[in-house]
């Protein structure tokens, strides 16, 4: 049985992500696809398994969700349509939605712009570091 707090966290993650973790057949294609595998403490397939087990605190304590490149390769290639990237994003949101956790404010962007920087990276950065 999960502790009440763990159950709440699990429900919150599932609600934010709209992912059905039970669809996972544990094939590992997500982690086989992941370009940030070596940088992430927990890998995409572990996000799915750990959310299913209610082991959310470990995910929140780790910086794995910020090492994710948000490339969506795991989600694109998952044969069961589980969408692990949305779980990673949900964990991230749970962290930055707390007071004072915004790491990137829109005002700060112009100063960071470089000619080489693709537009997509700015959108991805806002997604990752702002609520």
């Amino acid at each position: 049985m999960l502790h009440e707090n763990e159950r709440d966290l699990r429900e919150t993650i599932l609600r934010i992500s709209a992912v059905d973790v039970r669809k996972c057949m544990k094939c590992g294609k997500c982690s086989g696809s992941c370009p940030a595998y070596e940088q992430m403490e927990y890998h995409p397939h572990q996000f799915v398994a750990m959310v299913d087990n209610g082991d959310i605190q470990a995910l929140l304590d780790s910086d794995a969700s910020f090492k994710c490149l948000t490339c969506y390769a795991c989600t694109e290639r998952c044969p069961r349509d589980v969408r692990p990237a949305r779980l990673v994003e949900a964990v991230r949101l749970l962290k930055i939605r707390k007071q004072g956790q915004n790491h990137l404010k829109p005002d700060a962007i112009p100063a960071k712009l470089e000619a080489e920087l693709p537009q997509q990276a700015i959108v991805a950065a806002l997604r990752k570091y702002s609520k």
């Binding site: 094939c27 294609k29 992941c34 397939h45 044969p79």
Partner: protein, 661 residues
Amino acid sequence: MQRIGVFVCWCGSNIAGPVDVERVAEAMKSVPGVVHSTTYQYMCSEVGQSRIMEAIKEHQLTGVVVCSCSPRMHENTFRKTAQRAGLNPYMVEIANIREQCSWIHKDKEVGTQKAIVLAKAAVAKVMLNTPLQAGTSPVIKRALVIGGGIAGIQTALDIADAGYEVDIVEKSPTIGGRMAQLDKTFPTLDCSACILTPKMVDAAQNEKIDIISYAQVEKVSGFVGNFTVTIRKKARFVDELKCTGCGACMEKCPSKKGKNEFNMGLNNRTAIYIPFAQAIPNVAVIDPEQCLKLKTGKCGLCERVCSAGAINYKQEDEVFERQYGAIVAATGFKPIDLDAFDEYGYSQSKDVVTSLEFERIMNAAGPTGGQLVRPSDGKHPHEIVFIQCVGSRDTSGCGKPYCSKICCMYTAKHAMLVRDKYPDVNVHVFYIDVRTPGKNFDEFYRRAVEQYGVDYIKGMVGKVFPEGDKLIVQGSDLINGKQLALQADMVVLAAAIEPDPSARKLATMLTASMDTNDFFTEAHPKLRPVESPTAGVFLSGVCQGPKDIPETVAQAGAAASKVIGLLAKDHLVTNPCVAQSNELLCNGCSQCERVCPYGAISYVEKEIRGPGVREVRRVAQVNPAVCQGCGACTVTCPSGAMDLQGFSNLQIMAEVDAICK
């Protein structure tokens, strides 16, 4: 006045658990027309049936209602019981208080109330039943098998063995199907051709079997025991009776750029060709898309070298009709297209092949003469990676939701054969689960690991991409918690299998149902696995669901025995619950004729005499031997002239009234 008997079955605790059967029987006693009402533990048992027979005699019953399981289970049983007691069998009605009541209700009060309502509806219907007489229709003692792979060949051989004539219609120029393309077969490693070709020869030499190759079914009409099938035999541009299969034409043909279908397009063939050495019939065929003579009018070399004078550029498709008593679908499968799985690099590198292509590469009669070499540069590979479940067990929409069943075993076979023939080659297999339910199957897979040292990796590959002359295979190793990047010389994809695309069109022609994956549906998943729900249509091989060769052969024999059982009868008893048109009410609109899936309705000019009417009208007529009693016409008819005997509009309204009362 009708005298109805009601018999409520307990079905052990299946019904008597959630339904108070005594209360049901008691409640039915007060329904007008009911003169006898009782319960028994198992109404279908010998004792239960004799109770019904005794009651019919003792109470002079004119109708019987049995409150029990679905009519699909025991309607026939109780009809025969009534008949033995001298009652017309169609004076029996079943109230389904098991599947439609006790199995779905937990509350005994609710269950009992519903059982009473269902019983009352059945009584209301049986009050309006009329005695019906079943007719008979003759059986044509000839069977049609559609598809000439191992399934079709085995079915045909078994039917012919029982003494009946059977035709095989095969869409490609030769019979043999997928099994002819295989190198070895698991788990015994028999050479596939060595065990298949004798059967092909048997089929060709059997005087009861007529092989109609390079042909397809165009139209099917009729019904069980009496089908009329239109077959189109495509033009081969070669006279089958004259051609000796010497192959001189193939040597001289200048158009050599055709894709060799038998070798999965891995090499080329000439425009005039014999698919493979043991082809049956061993007769050449001209590909009209590729032949210079047929396309430009210039060439004619094959005609000049053919000493038998078999070439005929003017040959045309031949369309003919034949009559059959039974039809067997044996249309087989193909590997799926891999367009949706570009991450595996199939379109980017020639060295990424499907398992069926690998089968041809390993085969002595294949494009490389059985030498294991890379398709791109002909070099000997040192590292081969196999990827399982490519498109199988995939609910994302890219692949197939089912397990293709055969891939685990053929991949173990390929891995083992490579290690056996080329011990210098390292073999890795990425798997999700290894599924080996079958006689000697798990032993076979373990032999690949333990004796042959095949490296099985639990995990899936994320992507494959070319780098220099190597392929980089990036995937998960879940047991060791690692992401691997293997350098491979070749990658083999265990592509999912799907029903042959021709099956869907055929299912429409046969009015045989299919599931969402285009596999033919069986009449009952457990008890009638080789029959389709359409009478007289049987299923053999992968067209019904993924299966390996031994299962296919077993199913082919089972389908044949069902066909033999049908053809052994001289006449079939027809279902008397067929449509009937009331000519006085018919307005001649033809709507029923258009919706009838069996072609049972025709229109005639007829003099109609009725109260105040005497004129010639165009009215619908039903052929009772063809009608299957589906009821499509009765709901379509705008004037209420069509009625189904045993299920008349009046009876159905009486049932509804009884439920709503």
